[in-house]
Symmetry: C2
Subunit: 331 residues, 2 copies
């Protein structure tokens, strides 16, 4: 099927084939399939989509939409200890949008695959039209950095492990609120820009996850909900101290301006789309992990503790925090 | 993200996790990624989507929609000489459709992965909602059956090769016309049913492609256009004799009822979605291929010839046929 009769092939050749970067198994995006050469450690595979109206706004610049798509997938791979090796794109392009928009989308895709994914090639996919919103799905294969080849799962946490997280939590949510008009952009300019396409830790963090984390996932549905996922998958309970949750200067000032700072921090902890790594770490290995991460300019904060039992307890400076009924997008 | 808050995990566990069939690398669809073990021959990867309003009708039964999705991908793998080994599904489910519909979709998906794909496991994916039409994208990995591991490409045809095709051409197009109300279903009952989810040759045909075909693709955009693709990719021209194109009894009778049988056959040859294998075969190997295929109950017909030069010439019983401006969906 085609965007317009006669145009799908042209479109793929002009906009997407360059993103194959000459990788021999991509056949220049002129064939129906790609070939992935044998891998000694196997492959780690993730697949995520972005849907207009669900994951991004109609008004979002299309290069940012493509970057969000790449980063949703990339953050999964990094959190599992893998580095991207091949990408496949399914694109359902609205008939109401221009072809120039596809060029902008492809540019954003190419830039992120180059800059954030170490020139990961686009090796195939499918492009078609839709009478409706834009839908893009990316399948990303990753090379494991663990010597076993296995991904770091959600289920490996042990009682007593530290819950640790990279970067800052909440900027993506704050930025989204400004873009939805719920909050003023005033004082949240950085968050507003960041929220278009939040970025995960750098690729070089993947082997650190593989070497140090007992369990790991990327924060996509909200810190609290995702923390509970790690605990549940590992058959444990978890306590999180919101006062230790790392937040940016902008977020810190925003929290200070709120009538209830505690409620504000809770909003940040349940907002989602942070794309940071949330990990279970053996306590006596935490300092070494932190030092390794610091060499990459990645901050790692200890924010909680896994324990025998089940469920999530949240404190703020020692005082228990009442939890909302809805912890995040999918918990 | 989720279909409804709290429901994505339940949905995946109840409807899709069984389709992982206990494959260890799928982690029961409880994690963010899948693990594919090392493969000695590498992997052949395809990705195709089905979009409501573009590839299927709003009124199509949802199990048929899922089957169409599987078969679009499966026909690519078979035509390249590969057998499916893992599948990943991105599903954008309309908010206006019921959850029961997802169960029907999952049932169709599971049935085809079992019956047509030798129990290929569903190993991951992404499920979300859309304010618009249903979109589903499948990424399918395949195990090569060629000893080199390489897929049979579009570009390997040689001057003098026979153009050969499996099965029948045109039933899917005829069936679609009945479903669109353009043609009466009277006398085309078989085509009407077949068109919901046309099926490709059986899996066992993949090693025959790998052993015999110099070039191959699946007929998805129309026989003539796809034949021209093979020729172009191989730097050759091609002549196709429409009188030798294999058509079903129903299609034969329909052609005979038309004012211009030649024009009717041309419609069948440009309709698309046939999912059959179209191959370039060295002439002195054709009989052996045909015999191997016959053992699988797969008919293989010789319908044309590759030649030095370029372009497509179409004859019908020796007389040249004028070609339409539009040969198929994407040529």
């Amino acid at each position: 099927m085609s965007l317009k009769p006669s145009s799908e092939t042209d479109l793929i050749q002009s906009l997407f084939a360059p993103l194959a970067r000459g990788h021999s198994g991509a056949f220049g995006l002129t064939d129906d399939v790609a070939y992935l050469a044998p891998s000694t450690l196997g492959q780690i595979v993730t697949q995520d989509q972005v849907i207009e109206g669900t994951h991004f706004l109609l008004s979002d610049p299309l290069d940012s939409v493509a970057k969000r798509l790449v980063r949703r997938n990339l953050s999964d791979l990094i959190a599992k200890g893998a580095r991207p090796s091949a990408a496949f794109l399914s694109l359902a392009w609205p008939k109401s949008r221009s072809r120039d928009g596809i060029a902008l989308f492809a540019a954003g895709l190419g830039q992120d695959l180059q800059d954030l994914c170490d020139n990961c090639p686009l090796m195939g996919g499918d492009t078609s039209t839709i009478e409706g919103p834009l839908v893009a799905s990316l399948t990303m294969m990753g090379s494991p950095t663990a010597t076993t080849g296995q991904p770091i799962l959600r289920s490996g946490a042990k009682a007593g492990d530290i819950l640790a997280v990279t970067g800052f939590i909440g900027d993506a949510w704050l930025g989204l609120q400004t873009r939805l008009g719920v909050l003023s952009t005033n004082g949240l300019e950085g968050c507003a820009a960041f929220a278009m396409a939040p970025y995960p830790p750098p690729l070089a963090f993947a082997p650190i996850v593989a070497a140090y984390a007992n369990a790991s996932l990327d924060v996509s549905d909200g810190l609290l909900g995702d923390g509970l996922q790690l605990a549940r998958s590992s058959g444990l309970g978890i306590t999180i101290d919101l006062a230790t949750m790392p937040i940016s200067q902008e977020a810190l000032k925003w929290v200070a301006r709120q009538a209830s700072p505690a409620a504000a921090v809770l909003d940040l902890a349940t907002g989602g789309d942070d794309y940071q790594c949330l990990m279970a770490i053996t306590p006596d290995r935490f300092r070494a992990l932190q030092a390794k991460a610091r060499d990459l300019n990645v901050a790692v904060s200890a924010i909680g503790r896994f324990e025998a039992g089940q469920g999530l307890r949240v404190n703020h400076n020692g005082a228990p925090v009442d939890l909302p009924a809805q912890l995040g997008w999918s918990v």
